[in-house]
Structure formats: structure tokens, C-alpha cells
């Protein structure tokens, strides 16, 4: 096992270089999108060298970052200013290297007259792009440094450091997502044909693999930073870490994300039918199938009726549903219409399904459904519905009681009693109401014990009722009523009426129903 505590191991240096590589990949992919967007505006611009410059700038930033961290603020500003000027000049020289040095002397005399001519359009854009890449790279490395484990950190408050690291990671993710939004927007604009924005210049259907590579690298970066976060937490808490964990983490993360990428490629992304049209098609299809089945089932009856009618039966066989009419006429001849419909169906199902799943995971993780229950309006609606049901239940009991009373008084049976096999119960029918109540309570205690609420020998019925109310919270009043009735029957000398005994039985049944729900919820 790796001993707890920090050591600048080979594995950690390896992990750091992996993180740097991922940062370079992400920012290069982002730069490609920006360059493509500018190429959309200035068609014919050869921008292949820009990516090379971006890589150089990023490497420079990564290498020098740690060296300048130890400088004071003033020194840092001076260093960065010098760095910027150096790169601006080097970029200019590189431009002349590409386009030829013969224009250099001409431009030199022009700069003497008006220095602003130093910043040509292409030069300015490339400078801005390099500066933004440099800035973003610095930000990422800063966040990585914030998350890095330092042996001196063990002397600090674990909670504060942990929070700072979490915040750094969250900020990094937000930055990555923001860059992703920019990239996707730029790529969309590159491929859109909007004359108002771009004039007559044609759209560019350039490959967008860089966007997918960006997100792949980004998610791999999330995975690596998550490991860094956990590693730090484990270090502080003296956790024994199995050797090779970081390598297997990287391997599993890479395989997982590659598998997800392949899956994302395979899934359908284009559709020919909109969602509403598709729903219309599906419902029409289902209706036609049902109609066909219905007509098949009633064919014999139709034939019989036709015999009564006296005319020879016409063999009206229901037409099978016409699927071809459902397909929109815009389907191309190359792909069979049925396949196009299937493609659209598949696309919308998967697309909407994924969105709904993602949202549901988010809701469940944050327990939003519980929070919604706390909203006053929803709470009042729920309590109103519950009270309505309770009223209906009470009304049903009162009506049943009234009917029984009426039956007894009038002596008329309103409906015949269903003949049931009598269930043999010992002493049934020969017990008095008092004995019924006592026996019913004992049976209730036995039922309750079967779900794990066991009555202690020294517990009084009231104490047991209190214990039971804690387990079955929605039958609190019933439990109290049953216990009071039992105490009355068991210990008082007053007469117990048959109605009291029947009411006891109905309360007992309600509690047993609640027990069943409690049992099934515990099993879940």
C-alpha cells in the first residue's frame, strides 16, 4: 500500500503531464473553431499556421507558469508585459517568414509614419487568439495548482482546503463549459447561411470533429481532476491507497469515454419528420391497427347479421392499414420510406429519452421532488385531496351504517348476502362484545409483531400504542382509539355494545391495512 502522506512520485508527475496535454488538446480544438469562424468571414484565408502558434504559446505558458509563481506582483506584471511584447514581435516576424521578408522594409517606413498600421487585420486576430489561449491556459493551470496536494497542507485546516479545491474544480468545469458553448456557437455560425451576417460568402461545411475531441478531452480532464481531489482528501485522512489506482483510473476513464463517444456517433442525429408529425403518424398507425383488429373480431357477427338480412353475405374483409399513406411525401426515393420513418422515430425517442433521463437524474439527486412538496400551494392541494378522500370514506361508512340500521328496523334485505364458505375461527359467534374487543387487540398485537414491532413484556397497552404510533405514523388516531377501547373492555365493568365492538373491528382492519403498506415499504 502507498503510505499516507505526500511524495512527489513518478505517478503524480505523469498525471500532471497528462493534465497539461489535455489542456493543450482542448484549447487547440477551441482555436480551430475560432479559426474556422474567421475563415467563414474571410474566405480563402490560409490559417493552418495559427494552430501551430497556439500550441507553441500553450507550451510556453505551461513551462513558465511555475517559474513566475514565486515572483512578486510587480515583477509578474513586468514579466508578462515583456512576454507580450516579445510574442507580438515574434509573431510579426513569423508572419514575414511565411509571406516573405521583402515587405518588411516597406512596412518599416510605414510604421514610422503611422504605427497603427503595425496591427493588420490578420495579425490582430491571431494576436487576440493567442492571447486568449494564453490566458485560458494560465487559468487552467492556476486551478490545477490550487487543487494540487502539497505536503505542507497537512498543517492547514482540512475543511478550508477541501472547499478551496472543490471551488477550483467547479470554476474549471464552468470555464470548460463556457469555452464549449463558444465553440459550438462559432461552429454553428460557420455552417449557417445567413446573408445578413455574412453577406454573399458561402457556408463552410468544415469537419467538426474538433468539437467532439474537445468534449472528450474535457470529460477526461474532469475525470483526472476528480482523482486529484479524492487523492488529496485521502491524504489528509490517512487513507491507505492501493498502488496502481491512478493508472487504472486513467485507463477506465479513457475506455469509458471512448465507448460513450462511439455510442454518440452511432446514434441518429438527423431526422426528416418533426416531432408533431411523427406523433400524428404513430397515433394514426395505432388507430388503424386497432380498427383492423376490431373489424376482424366482428366479422363473424357481421356475417350472421347478413344471413338474417337475407342477402348473400358480402365478404367485406377489412382493409389492412395503409402504412404507405402515413409516410410524408417528402421522402426521398433512395431510402425506403419505412426506414426514414423508423429513423425519425428512433431519433426522437432516443433524443427525448436522454433529455428526460438526464433531468430526472438531476431532480432525484437534488431531491427537488421533496422540495416541491414543501411549496405551500402544492401542500395545500395535497391536503385538500386527502381531506376529500377522507370525507368520502366517512360518508361511505355512515351510509353503510345507516343501511344496516334500516335493514334491522325494517327487516328487509336490500340485496342477497353472497354465500361464502364460513371461515372457522375458534369461539367465533359465541364471544361477547367485550371478548371480541380483547381477542381483536391480541390479534392486532400478533399482526404487528410480524412486521418487527414487538411488544415488550413489561409494556402497558398505552406504552405499546405509543411505540406503534412511531412506526405507523398515518394511523395514529386509529391506534389510540383501538387501545382506549381495549382498555375500556379489559379493565372497566361497564357494558360494551355490539356497535363499539364492530367499530373496533373496522379500526383494527384499517390498522392492519396500514401495516401491510408499512411492511411493503420496508421490504422496498
Amino acid at each position: 500500500m502507498t503510505q499516507p502522506g505526500f511524495s512527489a512520485s513518478k505517478a503524480e508527475r505523469y498525471a500532471l503531464w497528462v493534465d497539461y496535454l489535455l489542456i493543450i488538446v482542448m484549447l487547440v480544438c477551441a482555436s480551430i473553431s475560432m479559426v474556422q469562424f474567421i475563415q467563414r468571414i474571410y474566405t480563402g484565408w490560409d490559417a493552418s499556421y495559427v494552430i501551430f502558434l497556439v500550441i507553441v504559446i500553450l507550451i510556453e505558458r505551461l513551462v513558465t507558469f511555475k517559474k513566475i509563481q514565486s515572483l512578486e506582483l510587480e515583477q509578474k506584471i513586468i514579466y508578462h508585459a515583456a512576454e507580450f511584447v516579445t510574442f507580438a514581435i515574434l509573431l510579426k516576424l513569423f508572419g514575414y517568414f511565411l509571406h516573405g521578408f521583402w515587405g518588411f522594409l516597406d512596412d518599416l517606413s510605414r510604421w514610422q509614419g503611422d504605427f497603427l498600421t503595425f496591427f493588420t487585420g490578420e495579425y490582430f486576430f491571431v494576436l487576440i487568439l493567442l492571447f486568449i489561449s494564453w490566458l485560458l491556459c494560465g487559468k487552467f493551470v492556476e486551478y490545477l495548482e490550487e487543487m494540487r496536494i502539497d505536503p505542507l497542507d497537512v498543517n492547514w485546516d482540512v475543511g478550508i482546503l477541501e472547499n478551496r479545491r472543490q471551488l477550483a474544480r467547479s470554476a474549471m468545469i464552468s470555464l470548460i463549459i463556457s469555452v464549449g458553448v463558444g465553440m459550438v456557437s462559432a461552429s454553428i455560425l460557420t455552417r449557417l447561411d445567413i446573408t445578413a451576417l455574412f453577406g454573399e460568402s458561402p457556408t463552410l461545411q468544415l469537419p467538426v470533429i474538433n468539437i467532439l475531441v474537445y468534449f472528450l478531452a474535457a470529460f477526461l480532464f474532469f475525470s483526472q481532476t476528480q482523482f486529484v481531489l479524492l487523492n488529496g482528501r485521502w491524504m489528509w485522512h490517512d487513507v491507505q491507497i492501493r498502488p496502481g489506482l491512478e493508472k487504472s483510473w486513467f485507463k477506465i476513464g479513457t475506455f469509458f469515454l471512448l465507448a460513450v463517444s462511439i455510442l454518440s456517433f452511432i446514434l441518429p442525429t438527423s431526422y426528416t419528420v418533426s416531432i408533431l408529425d411523427l406523433l400524428r403518424i404513430v397515433f394514426t398507425f395505432i388507430t388503424q391497427i386497432l380498427f383492423f383488429i376490431f373489424s376482424l373480431l366482428f366479422l363473424p357477427i357481421g356475417w350472421l347479421f347478413s344471413l338474417l338480412k337475407g342477402s348473400p353475405p358480402t365478404a367485406e374483409v377489412s382493409q389492412s392499414p395503409d402504412f404507405t399513406s402515413l409516410i410524408p411525401p417528402a421522402a426521398t426515393q433512395q431510402v425506403p420510406p419505412f426506414l426514414l420513418l423508423l429513423q425519425s422515430l428512433l431519433f426522437w425517442t432516443i433524443f427525448i429519452g436522454l433529455i428526460v433521463l438526464s433531468f430526472s437524474i438531476y431532480f432525484r439527486q437534488n431531491k427537488l421532488h421533496l422540495s416541491l412538496g414543501k411549496v405551500d400551494f402544492i401542500r395545500s392541494v395535497r391536503s385538500w385531496i386527502a381531506s376529500m378522500f377522507s370525507w368520502f370514506r366517512q360518508a361511505r361508512i355512515s351510509v353503510a351504517r345507516s343501511i344496516k340500521l334500516l335493514q334491522k328496523q325494517v327487516g328487509i334485505r336490500l340485496q342477497p348476502k353472497p354465500h361464502k364458505q364460513p371461515k372457522w375461527e375458534p369461539f367465533s359467534g359465541r364471544l361477547s362484545p367485550r371478548q371480541d374487543v380483547i381477542r381483536g387487540f391480541i390479534r392486532l398485537v400478533e399482526e404487528v409483531e410480524s412486521v418487527g414491532v414487538i411488544r415488550k413484556p413489561d409494556q402497558t397497552p398505552s406504552q405499546f400504542a405509543h411505540t406503534l404510533q412511531k412506526s405507523i405514523t398515518d394511523s395514529g388516531e386509529d391506534i389510540q382509539a383501538v387501545t382506549d377501547t381495549f382498555l375500556f373492555a379489559r379493565y372497566s365493568r361497564r357494558e360494551i355494545s355490539r356497535e363499539t365492538s364492530m367499530e373496533f373491528t373496522s379500526l383494527q382492519k384499517r390498522i392492519i391495512d396500514s401495516l401491510e403498506k408499512y411492511k411493503s415499504s420496508r421490504q422496498e
Binding site: 467547479s170 491507505q240 487504472s248 483510473w249 433524443f351 438526464s358
Partner: protein, 395 residues
């Protein structure tokens, strides 16, 4: 973090719906599938990883207990990371906190071993053991699983005893006695010539035929110790300064005596007014029985027993005395002996019971107690520390 991604997905959906560009949907798929699969994977793994504890459930103080935790991944998917934390009672004193981070491949297992050093008797819990895992991307909350608690019983220390003067009035038994009052027909020691008055059943016909003279068998007298130990664990039965030390000594004395009596293959029992930590009720009472099974049950109870003010030793003696079988010796283990207890002991003595009094801890007025006990011929032993057990050993 997941909220940021959700908003990003919403934005992509809007952009995709407006433009119909296919790569937007691919990005949406990539992000959504990553979240969904990570969530499913995490929940699947945490259910499929099982952890088993392997350890001896009963040990003696001073033993080094080796515990193995075996984590097994029963699923076909690997577990990227797992964090295992085991809780152990402070008294068992593990060398360092038991916290491990590891990964598990598909159908793989990983063993974690650590040692415990119990130095005090008791009934200790091992666990709960918690297992934590999370997704690779760190977007989702971590998932937890807790495993059942196990228990380890540390028996009280047993000191070897070889010289305890316990008297017995039981006519038959397994221990040799030099008092030729009761002969044990299962222990023949020789033969002698027949004398007038000898029972015909004692004639050894084979040797009589050989010697042509009537020979009778001679048997060795024996006794049986049937002993009931009464262990007082009422705090009022001990001097205030030595409640815990004295009561622990008393428990060790009871355990040592039980072990000694078992080695002698005698019947022994235990009653106590202490509380069993497992049930939180008065400890089980053990009537005198022989056998190792009885010893283990008594040792297990003594491991878990603790002080209780529920019943005094006098009440217990009053309760148990009528049920004592004849010939039973009574060993009273307590921290004091006041007038009330002496009254009870006197009653027992007058009714023919043999009594031994063992006083543990600091005992004020020890000499007076010994004097009074001497009147009743009750041997008194005083244990103020573990070293006093040496007095019970033969030189």
C-alpha cells in the same frame, strides 16, 4: 456541476432545434449518455460489491487478533474506486485508522488485513463498515453502503490456580480424598482378605479363585466439588475507591475458578447480580454443571457482564439459597462483607453449606471480617491485585 451541464444541454437542445445541425445532437448525446451511464454504473457497482469480515469471534486479552476484510466485486463491470472505512471500539486499540482506497476489477477481490490488540475483557462491536464509491467524472454525489456490525468477545483473564482449599461434602466424585469415609466403587485401588462384615458384593471372585482365599475389593474414597460461585457486581458491594478494579478482580477470580474446576472435571455454576451488556438484563444464571460447554458459557457471560445496582448480593443469596442442591460449596466473591451478609452466610453455614469468601479490591476492616469468618470456619481469601493469584498456586 451537474446543473451547469444540464443548462448546457438545454442550450444545445435549443441550438440544435433552431439549426438542425447534426453535430449538436452528437454533443448532446455525449454529455447525456456520460451522465446517465455514470449514474447507472455507480448504483450498479455499489450494490454488487460485498465485503466480508473474517475474524475470531472469541479471544483472550493479550492475544493479537488478525482481522481480514475481503471486498469482492460480483459484477462484470470494474469498480473505479472504492473507499472502505471500518469502525473499531476504542478499547480494541487498532494501530491506525482503518481506511482504504482501492479499485476492483470485474469479479475481482481485495483483502485488507489489520490487527487488534484487546487488553480488556468485554463485548466489542466491529463496524459498521462503510463503503463509498463515486463516478469517474465527479459529477454525481457519492453512493454509500453500510455493512452489518459484528461482535468480538474478549474473555476475562484467567490465572492458573492449583491450590484452592475447597471442601466438599459430596460423597461421590472425581477428586481423590484422604478421608476414608466415602468410598467410590468406580475407583478400585487394591484387594485384601475377606473379613467378617464385608459385603458379599465386594468379593472379587477371580482373585479369590486364584489365591484360594476370599478377597474383597478396596475402593478409594473420593469427593466431588459441586460449586456455585456467587459474583457480586453491585457497586455498593465494593469500597468506593476500588469499585472498578475490585469488580474486575472479582470477575477474573470467577473466571479462574471456573477454569480450575473445569480442569478438575467438577460441576460448577455461576450466579451474579451484574447486567449482561448484550441483553441489558440480569446476567444468565448457571446452575452447577460440569463440562467445557458450561465453562465457555460462563466465560462468555463474564466477558460481557458489567456492574449493576439492581440487586444486592444479600438479596441474591436469599433468593438462590433454597434452590442449592445438597453438597454444594458456595464461593462468595464480593468486595465487602457486612453484618447483613454475614447473617446470610451464617444461615448457610448452619444449614450445612460449605462457604468460601473471596474479597476483591481494597477491603476496609479486613481483619475483622477474617475474625468473624473464622468463627464460622469460613476461609477468606483477599485479592487486592492480580499478583495475589499467585497465592493460589502450588509452589
Amino acid at each position: 456541476m451537474i446543473l451547469t451541464l444540464i443548462f448546457f444541454i438545454i442550450l444545445l437542445v435549443i441550438l440544435g432545434a433552431m439549426t438542425g445541425d447534426s453535430f449538436v445532437f452528437t454533443v448532446i448525446y455525449f454529455i447525456s449518455i456520460s451522465i446517465i451511464l455514470s449514474n447507472w454504473w455507480l448504483n450498479y457497482i455499489i450494490r454488487k460489491v460485498k465485503v466480508e469480515r473474517k475474524f475470531p469471534s472469541h479471544v483472550f486479552p493479550g492475544e493479537v487478533v488478525s482481522i481480514d476484510l475481503v471486498a469482492e466485486n460480483t459484477s462484470i463491470l470494474p469498480a473505479p474506486w472504492l473507499f472502505l472505512q471500518e469502525s473499531v471500539a476504542v478499547e480494541l486499540a487498532p494501530a491506525h485508522p482503518i481506511r482504504h482506497a482501492f479499485n476492483l476489477g470485474s469479479k475481482a477481490n481485495h483483502q485488507i488485513s489489520f490487527k487488534l490488540f484487546p487488553h480488556k475483557r468485554g463485548y466489542y462491536s466491529l463496524g459498521p463498515l462503510s463503503l463509498t464509491s463515486g463516478d469517474l467524472l465527479g459529477l454525481l454525489p457519492e453512493a454509500y453502503q453500510r455493512f452489518a456490525i459484528d461482535f468480538i468477545t474478549v474473555y476475562p483473564r484467567i490465572f492458573s490456580i492449583s491450590n484452592v482449599s475447597l471442601r466438599s461434602r459430596s460423597p461421590m466424585g472425581g477428586i481423590k480424598n484422604y478421608q476414608p469415609l466415602n468410598e467410590d466403587p468406580s475407583r478400585p485401588i487394591g484387594k485384601r482378605d475377606y473379613r467378617s462384615g464385608d459385603s458379599l458384593r465386594r468379593i472379587d471372585w477371580k482373585s479369590s479363585a486364584t489365591t484360594r482365599k476370599l478377597q474383597v475389593k478396596v475402593f478409594e474414597p473420593s469427593i466431588a466439588y459441586q460449586t456455585l460461585m456467587m459474583l457480586d457486581l453491585n457497586p455498593s458491594g465494593y469500597y468506593q475507591k476500588s469499585i472498578y478494579d475490585g469488580s474486575e478482580l472479582a470477575i477474573e477470580a470467577a473466571a479462574s475458578l471456573a477454569s480450575w474446576l473445569n480442569a478438575k472435571k467438577q460441576a460448577f455454576g455461576l450466579v451474579s447480580n451484574g447486567i449482561d451488556s448484550l441483553t441489558n438484563h440480569l446476567a444468565l444464571q448457571f446452575p452447577p454443571r460440569s463440562g467445557s460447554a458450561n465453562l465457555m458459557k460462563i466465560l462468555e457471560t463474564l466477558a460481557r457482564i458489567r456492574l449493576s445496582s439492581s440487586q444486592s448480593i444479600e438479596e441474591m443469596l436469599l433468593q438462590k439459597f433454597p434452590g442449592l442442591p445438597s453438597g454444594t460449596s458456595l464461593i462468595m466473591i464480593t468486595g465487602h462483607c457486612d453484618a447483613m451478609l454475614f447473617t446470610q452466610l451464617e444461615r448457610c453455614f448452619l444449614l450445612g453449606k460449605d462457604i468460601v469468601l473471596i474479597l476483591c479490591g481494597e477491603v476496609p476492616g479486613l481483619q475483622e471480617i477474617k475474625r468473624k469468618a473464622g468463627i464460622l470456619s469460613i476461609p477468606v481469601y483477599h485479592l487486592s491485585s492480580n499478583k495475589d493469584f499467585k497465592g493460589w498456586q502450588l509452589p
